[in-house]
């Protein structure tokens, strides 16, 4: 399949490739993204999606798993052989084992159908933001209540300095460095305790509990560190006060 030229790759706008065989889903994602100033590329099959990505490139891919021509996981694997573009997977499967498999296969995040547009949009923003934020330095997160200064290893809640243990701080910084993004348990465990502890999830549970306590966060209704059961953790960005971190 050739490269269709239906999109306008504006220099400023981030380009999102949407691969989904359901025309209606493709349509509303397309309309919503365009209304928020993103450029879009649309594909109905896995092959078409891969071709588009190869020809036109994209800053982010939204990939449906149930494609008619090939399994979404195969598309993901093929894509990962030559591209590091962030991929958000759309799936109807709500089995967390399946999600872990997907994340292992190279997906960066997932959204379970049916989903609200804002949920998808938040994920997309998280990836496109850090893609630019990573370029700058001075990593300070401040939403008005919680302030994290990664360089000075300083954390405060409502102006009060919170003393964190070394491990607690490294977990918080690991999550806060990629706000809004899902970090899998395996990733965290490997990074913090080394590859031999990739299975020791209970370490993590204890540590997260302590961290939440110190930040005044509630596990049942977390403001900062949200648990995706069986999959991983996500640092939630509090939108009210905006991001003070990116200068």
């Amino acid at each position: 399949m050739g490269c269709p030229n239906e999109t306008n790759p504006g220099a400023a706008a981030a380009q999102v490739l949407i691969v989904d065989d359901e025309p209606q889903i493709r349509k509303f994602i397309d309309i919503s993204l365009r209304s928020q100033g993103y450029a879009t590329l649309l594909a109905a099959t896995g092959q078409e999606g891969l071709t588009l990505l190869a020809c036109k490139g994209a800053d982010l891919v939204v990939l449906d798993l149930g494609l008619p021509d090939k399994d979404g996981k195969d598309v993901l694997r093929e894509l990962r052989q030559w591209s590091r573009v962030p991929v958000i997977v759309l799936t109807v499967r709500s089995d967390e084992g399946e999600k872990v498999t997907l994340l292992d296969a190279g997906a960066n995040d997932y959204v379970t159908k049916p989903f609200g547009i804002e949920e998808l949009m938040a994920r997309i923003r998280a990836f496109l933001r850090t893609a630019t934020a990573g370029a700058e330095d001075g990593p300070v997160y401040d939403d008005g209540v919680l302030r994290i200064d990664l360089a000075r290893r300083e954390v405060s809640v409502r102006g009060q300095i919170v003393t964190l243990a070394r491990k607690e701080f490294s977990l918080l910084s690991l999550l806060a460095r990629q706000p809004g993004r899902l970090v899998t348990q395996t990733q965290i465990l490997k990074e913090m305790w080394g590859p031999t502890h990739a299975e020791d999830v209970h370490y993590l549970r204890i540590l997260v509990g302590k961290l939440r306590q110190k930040l005044g966060d509630d596990a049942s209704n977390p403001c900062y560190i949200a648990t995706e059961p069986g999959v991983g953790l996500r640092f939630t960005v509090r939108e009210r006060d905006g991001m003070a971190g990116s200068r």
């Binding site: 359901e22 209606q24 309309i31 209304s35 928020q36 109807v92 159908k113």
Partner: protein
């Protein structure tokens, strides 16, 4: 053959079993009056003080005050009163004790015989039941009551003790305590009247208590205790793996029922016991006797007309029976071997059981046989070189040996004798006639034929007698000088001697052949009965049929009434009427304990029925009851064995039917489960897709509507609308399916044009799939069709929607309508999609078929085509999948009968096609 590890595992298991079930502590004494009961009570008091739950089940104090004093203060179980022939007898309340379930029960006098009408004949059986129930038992017994030393006691004292206790009870032994008293002191006690003796036996027993007897008994008791301690130690060591016994040393005891079988079994059992080896008692059926035939009728006929050989044979079988019963009591196996060659049979059996030792009795030594090395002992020594041979001599054997000379005569039946005489006379006559034509030597052939004739019809002894007769007749009538027994010429001597030798060998061969045939036939009857049962059981599909088939074969083979209850199902009802309350109690007992009861057994033997357990591999499935005619006083070993084998086969068949029905249930459950999960995944996948679009579109509008152009906003609203309709269609499909599945579909037929149907379906499809291209080919002037319009339109729509989905973009879906010669409507819907492999064309109509192919399938519940099939089927039509035109894609063909009088109309119009 058992390896070291299995030995060890067995020992450990044995040890575990000892711990799980109750254990027996025996207070063993050499004679009455040594103080066994006293010792037991003293021990019990001590335990009672330590707050162990001890209950006195039954203790006979015989009015002795010192014993009575010991009983006081111990918890006492009230005795059960049993009325028997107007007398009140007191017995231990077994059931009461089982309910009370103390940690330890005291049960005095293990060898006691219970009052008639009690559950068990003997008290040791009660004790076994207590042990089974997990109750530890303390009991007392005198050495002379022990089965295995019964003969020795008889030899020492001259008194035959009738009430013996099988050694097998001692398998559960935890502890054996010797209660000892020197003979002198015992006699002193006896003289002081301190020893209780039953009045009627007092006189007889006085002789028993001689100092020499008591000393010998005391020694015997000590030996026995030492042996059990030995066995105990060995088992414990084995359990801890300290000492692996390298090979299983099975002991094979061969008995022949000629006077000392029980003695042999006891002796052999003791040998095995000392070695800690398993053992079995076997007998060889050579087919020599007519009554070896297994059929119950034959045995009974023999019983009813006992004369000569038959009576002798009957006695022999009875002895084997008793010896086998004893063997089972002592914990051995029993088997009847069928072979005309006794030696070979024994060697085969020894090899099969991994035996190292063969125990035989001293056989009757026939001088001639010894010369030719033909005695059993010699043959076993020659051919079974690797076996250890133990030959046990018994006092009774000598008596029998004295009668040896007349055995041949005695066992010759009158009929046989007549046959011998007639044939010998005939042979002599024939020889006289033939003498003119034949030479002297050739005449011997005539006699030889006579001998073989007799041998092939009767037995070896007859053949020998015939040979002797013919020899004499030949000598007397034909050898010069005639009419004397002298032999003139040297040649004559050679002739007659050679004749004798030939006659004996030929006779032996012929009679042996016959024996083999008889033995084979006997084994065959058993095999055929089993085969017959197997055939009938194989046909039985459920438990009820198994019971009916099993009962009918049992009844016809054993000539008895049969009844059975397996897994709660009983039958046949004709037999059930003959069961009394009493019989049912016995049946229940058998069912619970997995052991036979009722008639011909020691348990609940006042029932008219004999009950056998029906076992599967590990548990008792049920019980088979057999009621033999009241004239049958006992069962032959073969009858027992046949009944037991049959019960076993019936159990296997019952188990099989149970497994089959369980499998069937599992299969149906599995299928339902599969369907359910298919439905769930279908619902979650296919209902969520439109929902996702609707939720997403609505959410987009709500959040970003103000940032969008009017066109985009309109487009999203349209999405919500279209997807809502799609969702509605899926739900409709599900509802239709439910209706079709419940057979509740009511057809409301009406007249409608085929073109109208196709047009409506096409329009509907165009709405949902605006890109689809549809092409019609409908002959003009088709008559209207009498169908349920909405349903057929739905079916057509489903097929077309399917075709559109599989069509590559830009390709058309073709709808071709035809009318067949035999007035049916054909609607072919063809697409140019990937097509369906031949193997799967049928399956596409299965419910949820597309779902089963996984997430990759196109959207659709997979119900569409199933619904089509249901609707078309309700109209008596059919639907099939065919390869598409020019071999590309797929054609779905709907065939519908025109219905009503449209046929008539069509014919009148003379429609083409």
């Amino acid at each position: 053959m058992g390896t070291e590890q299995t030995e060890q595992a067995d020992a450990l298991l044995g040890e575990l079993k000892r711990q799980a079930v109750g254990r027996l502590t025996v207070f063993l004494g050499a004679a009455p009056g040594v103080g066994k009961t006293y010792a037991m009570l003293a021990r019990a008091r001590e335990l009672h003080r330590q707050r162990v739950d001890v209950v006195v089940g039954i203790v006979e104090t015989h009015g002795r005050s010192e014993t009575q004093a010991l009983v006081e203060g111990l918890p006492l179980l009230p005795r059960k009163k049993v009325a028997y022939q107007g007398r009140q007898l007191e017995e231990m309340d077994l059931d009461g004790l089982l309910v009370r379930k103390p940690a330890i029960a005291l049960v005095d006098e293990l060898a006691h015989r219970n009052a008639p009408g009690s559950r068990h004949e003997r008290r040791w059986q009660d004790v076994e039941e207590l042990l089974d129930a997990g109750i530890d038992v303390y009991t007392t017994v005198n050495i002379q009551h022990l089965e295995s030393v019964n003969d020795v006691v008889h030899q020492i004292t001259g008194v035959r003790v009738g009430e013996t206790v099988p050694d097998a009870v001692f398998e559960r032994l935890r502890d054996i305590r010797l209660v000892d008293l020197p003979a002198r002191e015992l006699i002193e006690r006896l003289n002081q009247g301190k020893v209780y003796l039953p009045e009627q036996a007092a006189q007889a027993l006085q002789a028993f208590f001689s100092p020499s007897n008591l000393t010998a008994l005391r020694e015997l008791a000590m030996q026995t205790v030492a042996e059990y301690v030995d066995v105990d130690l060995r088992e414990k060591r084995a359990a801890r793996g300290l000492e692996g016994i390298a090979i299983q040393r099975h002991v094979l005891i061969a008995i022949d029922g000629r006077g000392h079988s029980e003695y042999l079994v006891r002796a052999g059992a003791k040998i095995a016991e000392r070695r800690g080896a398993p053992w079995s008692a076997v007998t060889v059926d050579t087919g020599r006797s007519a009554s070896a035939a297994l059929h119950a009728d034959d045995v009974r006929r023999a019983t009813s007309a006992p004369d000569g050989a038959a009576r002798d044979e009957q006695r022999r079988l009875l002895e084997i029976d008793k010896a086998f019963a004893l063997a089972r009591n002592l914990g051995g196996e029993t088997a009847v071997l069928h072979n005309s060659d006794v030696t070979q049979a024994l060697l085969d059996a020894a090899a099969a059981r991994g035996a190292r030792s063969i125990v035989i009795g001293r056989t009757r030594e026939r001088p001639i046989a010894r010369i030719f090395n033909r005695t059993l002992t010699q043959q076993l020594l020659q051919r079974g070189a690797r076996y250890e041979l133990t030959i046990v001599g018994a006092p009774q054997v000598r008596q029998r040996s004295l009668r040896l000379p007349d055995i041949a005569g005695e066992s010759l039946a009158r009929r046989d004798l007549l046959l011998i005489l007639a044939i010998s006379a005939g042979a002599t006559g024939t020889a006289a006639l033939a003498e003119r034509f034949l030479g002297l030597q050739d005449l011997s052939l005539v006699f030889l034929v006579a001998v073989i004739l007799v041998a092939s019809r009767t037995r070896m002894t007859s053949a020998v007698v015939t040979a002797a007769l013919c020899f004499l007749s030949y000598d007397f009538f034909f050898i010069e000088p005639r009419f004397t027994f002298l032999i003139g010429a040297q040649r004559g001597v050679a002739t007659v001697l050679l004749f004798l030798a030939a006659a004996l060998i030929a006779g032996r061969l012929a009679s042996r052949l016959r024996m083999q045939v008889v033995a084979l036939r006997a084994a065959n009857i058993h095999a055929m009965a089993m085969q017959n049962l197997g055939r009938k059981l194989a046909k039985a599909a459920d438990l009820g049929q198994v019971i009916t088939a099993g009962a009918s074969v049992l009844e016809s083979t054993l000539n008895a009434r049969a009844w059975m209850r397996i897994n709660g199902e009983t039958g046949p009802s004709a037999s059930a009427e003959h069961l009394t309350e009493k019989d049912l109690v016995a049946a229940d007992w058998t069912r619970q304990h997995g052991q036979s009861s009722g008639r011909y057994t020691d348990t609940l033997s006042n029932s008219a029925w004999w009950f056998l357990p029906v076992r599967s591999d590990k548990d008792t499935l049920g019980v088979v009851g057999l009621r033999f005619p009241s004239g049958v006083g006992r069962l032959s070993f073969e009858e027992r064995r046949l009944a037991e084998s049959m019960a076993e086969d019936i159990g296997q068949a019952a188990l099989r039917t149970r497994l089959v029905s369980e499998l069937e249930v599992a299969r149906v459950t599995g299928e339902t489960e599969r369907l359910r999960s298919a439905l769930l995944s279908s619902v979650s996948h296919d209902l969520r897709s439109p929902l996702s679009s609707m939720i997403g579109a609505a959410d987009s509008l709500a959040r970003y509507g103000k940032d969008m152009g009017p066109e985009d906003r309109h487009s999203l609203l349209e999405t919500i609308h279209v997807e809502g309709e799609r969702l509605d269609r899926y739900i409709q499909n599900l509802l239709d399916m439910t209706r079709l599945g419940q057979q509740g579909l009511m057809l409301t037929r009406d007249w409608i044009g085929v073109d109208e149907l196709v047009g409506s379906a096409s329009r509907r499809l165009q709405r949902y799939e605006p890109g689809a291209r549809i092409e019609h080919e409908i002959p003009p002037d088709l008559p209207p069709i009498h169908v349920h319009p909405a349903l057929v339109e739905q079916a057509l729509f489903n097929v077309m929607e399917n075709a559109a989905k599989f069509s590559p973009p830009g390709e058309t879906v073709r709808v071709r309508v035809r009318r067949t010669e035999d007035d049916r409507l054909l609607i072919d819907v063809s697409d140019r999609g990937p097509g369906i492999p031949e193997a799967e064309r049928r399956r596409i109509f299965d419910m949820f078929y597309s779902v089963e192919r996984g997430d990759r399938g196109r959207q659709g519940t997979g119900l569409g085509l199933t619904i089509v099939q249901g609707i078309v089927g309700a109209h008596m039509g059919s639907v099939e999948a065919l390869p598409g035109p020019e071999g590309r894609g797929t054609t779905i063909r709907l065939t519908l009968p025109w219905g009503g009088y449209a046929n008539q109309e069509a014919k009148e119009n003379g429609m083409p096609e």
